[in-house]
Symmetry: C2
Subunit: 313 residues, 2 copies
């Protein structure tokens, strides 16, 4: 398959590089289990990222990568460290794919860009990325303004480009993997399920919130600022109340303040923290080790595709 040979991995499963959840421990566990682990640099200072890369290299001899959201002032320094440490795979998100793709590819790095609409998929393809992650409305964390779901997103992006395509949003089982690939994806990126894994660096309180999620527990919030999918908690309810009354960007930015994602997801303040997670949290019932998650995904995928071969109309 395109995606496994692109990254030199066993299974077309990429672990999303999430802030506060995906340090070296999660990334190396996923890579060791045959997927592609990603360190989430979005919540890291350059020196922290350097430590995580070094630890990840020590913990796995399999390929792994780093996800870099292109919206922080220290992005140049993060990129320098990634190249210096010899990381071979970079996922960029939340910014212009033209900014670093050429430079990274010159250094021999495989570059993937995360998009949530058609316009940025074309922009990424033009920038020369090696693959695209297309993320649907159901995904956790930052999200697109168009609110296009994975079911519509994947065929829509597949229609306009032949570039290797990784589906994200709503995927937490081998059945959903098979579904994403039926829609035209070459592989999947899984976030929430790994955020709730044993090796995730998320606080146990946050993992517990994910496990307890019910139908409708997550919402796309802060749409006038940057849309982000959050799980309900007192902080979310404050935001929702303000939004219902028509709160503008300034009011929402004040409400959000600084450091709220760290407070919630990493420090475990589930009252006042910002808890970013996807709709699939409703399907996550246990906190499991990565190796078990990967085994279950692969077995479920194989069982699903085996069954489907008899589905002829």
């Amino acid at each position: 398959m395109k995606i496994t040979s692109l990254f030199n991995i066993k299974y077309p499963i990429i672990q999303g590089g999430m802030i506060w959840c995906s340090g070296w421990e999660l990334a190396s566990a996923v890579s060791n289990a045959g997927g592609l682990g990603l360190i989430g640099a979005g919540s890291m200072h350059p020196e922290t990222l350097e430590i995580h890369i070094k630890k990840c290299k020590a913990a796995t001899n399999k390929p792994f990568g780093v996800n870099v959201p292109l919206l922080y002032p220290q992005t140049d320094e993060l990129m320098e460290i990634i190249v210096k440490e010899g990381v071979r795979i970079v996922f960029t998100s939340a910014g212009n794919p033209k900014k670093y793709t050429g430079w990274l590819k010159e250094k021999g790095v495989t570059v993937v860009h995360v998009v949530a609409n058609k316009k940025f998929a074309l922009k990424a393809a033009e920038a020369g990325v090696d693959a695209i992650v297309a993320e649907g409305f159901e995904a956790g964390g930052h999200n697109g303004y168009e609110e296009t779901t994975t079911m519509v997103m994947i065929p829509m992006i597949r229609e306009i480009t032949n570039i290797p395509l990784i589906a994200a949003g709503g995927i937490a089982s081998g059945k959903a993997m098979a579904a994403a690939m039926a829609l035209g994806a070459d592989g999947v990126q899984i976030g929430s399920l790994f955020a709730a894994s044993k090796e995730s660096s998320a606080h146990d309180n946050f993992k517990q919130k994910i496990v307890e999620a019910v139908d409708g527990s997550t919402h796309l919030a802060l749409k006038k600022l940057v849309p982000v999918r959050l799980i309900e908690n007192p902080f979310y309810h404050k935001v929702a109340e303000a939004e219902v009354k028509g709160a503008d960007k300034t009011i929402l930015a004040e409400l959000l303040g600084k450091g709220r994602a760290k407070k919630g997801m990493f420090e475990g303040d589930i009252e006042n923290g910002e808890l970013e997670i996807g709709q699939t949290s409703v399907m996550i019932h246990d906190i499991k080790p990565v190796a078990q998650i990967m085994n279950e995904l692969v077995a479920d995928f194989n069982q699903t595709t085996k069954k489907m071969k008899d589905w002829r109309l």
Copy 2:
């Protein structure tokens, strides 16, 4: 397959019973092509429904059904006509499945209820329906408050009940059919694609709007009233402006007024009308006859599942 034997049809494809789009001409065309056609009674007075049922019976000897949203005062009369005319299949939506299921089943009618969350799926199963349609956030028209997408909805409902399950929302290709069935659905309900078909009773202006839709053209609107997915037009923009400012239920109800869906979808006033359609409109590029749509769906589904049989990890 469960769904085809339940309805005695050839393909597990149900045409959504949409207001102003699905009269006898569309329903009979879908049934004649091997799917299950549904007359959408939501936009019909009892005497209109009677005419449509009679014409549908004359136009096909295959099974067809009627979709009845349970929110109009004339629902009792609609049900009486359905039973009197010998319709064997009824889809109910937008209301309590307990209200008519028992009564219809006593008359030998097969009953299906449309849901958009877990709670109503359980309620429908308890009411004794023969199947459930579970509709995701990407679907056109009225929609759930939870905003759960098809990718998450189907595994979530499949997990709690073994009842025959029909996926709706985001499905406009054989690939998406295969995806929905990989997720655990037994069949699919397709709306937008048939709304834009030659045999749809929608106005040509509306069909043209569907064909011209781009990424992000549809939005879930009127959330404080009843969430409904609309395509952008001057009416939608008025609603969106009011909502951004925090407009309440009363203001929105006034803005909506009466008869706006008919005005837009049936009479073709695409400036002032309410145009209900799903996200898949971005994937609909031509207005085709139903027979061609059905052939393409089946061929695409078979090609997809055939390819998938080699997908073993």
